[in-house]
């Protein structure tokens, strides 16, 4: 049962990560490309992290903190990264009005 759940999260996570990267590769301009990684990929990594939490908790090691920390980091930093990249792009285009 738990294995199925873990497998499910892994599949979802992998798929989202891939979708995000396909978006990054295929979408026509930077502002659209930004959506892929920031949303889909973060979600994908989140899925795999949940799988990991489930997997290692099931082995009786107790709740692992690493995944929580990683998730926390990701959720704080992903928007900042996206914001900064967009700012940089705006700056390069010349319409840099804060």
């Amino acid at each position: 049962m738990l294995d199925t759940l873990i497998a499910l999260f892994l599949v979802i996570g992998g798929a989202f990560a891939l979708i995000g990267s396909i978006g990054l590769a295929r979408l026509p301009d930077l502002f659209m490309r930004l959506h892929g990684p920031t949303k889909a990929t973060t979600l994908g990594v989140g899925g795999i992290l949940i799988a990991s939490v489930l997997h290692f908790s099931s082995r009786g090691d107790g709740l692992s903190l690493h995944e929580l920390l990683v998730t926390l980091f990701l959720f704080i930093t992903a928007p900042i990264s996206a914001y900064l990249i967009a700012r940089a792009m705006l700056h390069l285009r010349g319409d840099d009005k804060p």
Partner: protein, 89 residues
């Protein structure tokens, strides 16, 4: 079933990394490349966690944690350079 799922996830992440790298090579602008690098870092986190599940080892989790942190700092530095030139002012 778990093994099949792990293999699938590995394949997805590998493909994702390849696509990221392709974007990094193609550009066309520097922010594109920074974004590609940032995404590579994030996908690598997934890769490491997967690797840990695959080997049943927790020893690589610290690495995943650091990637999350370092990837961000790298992105900030690169963007700040594009914006201001001087990254520590």
């Amino acid at each position: 079933m778990l093994n099949a799922a792990i293999v699938f996830a590995f394949a997805c992440i590998a493909a994702a990394l390849l696509l990221n790298f392709w974007r990094l090579l193609r550009g066309p602008t520097t922010p594109d490349r920074i974004l590609a690098l940032d995404t590579m870092y994030i996908n690598t986190i997934a890769l490491l966690v997967l690797f840990g599940i695959h080997l049943d080892l927790t020893a690589f989790f610290e690495a995943a944690l650091l990637i999350a942190m370092m990837g961000f700092v790298g992105t900030v530095a690169l963007c700040k350079y594009l914006l201001r030139g001087d990254i520590i002012e």
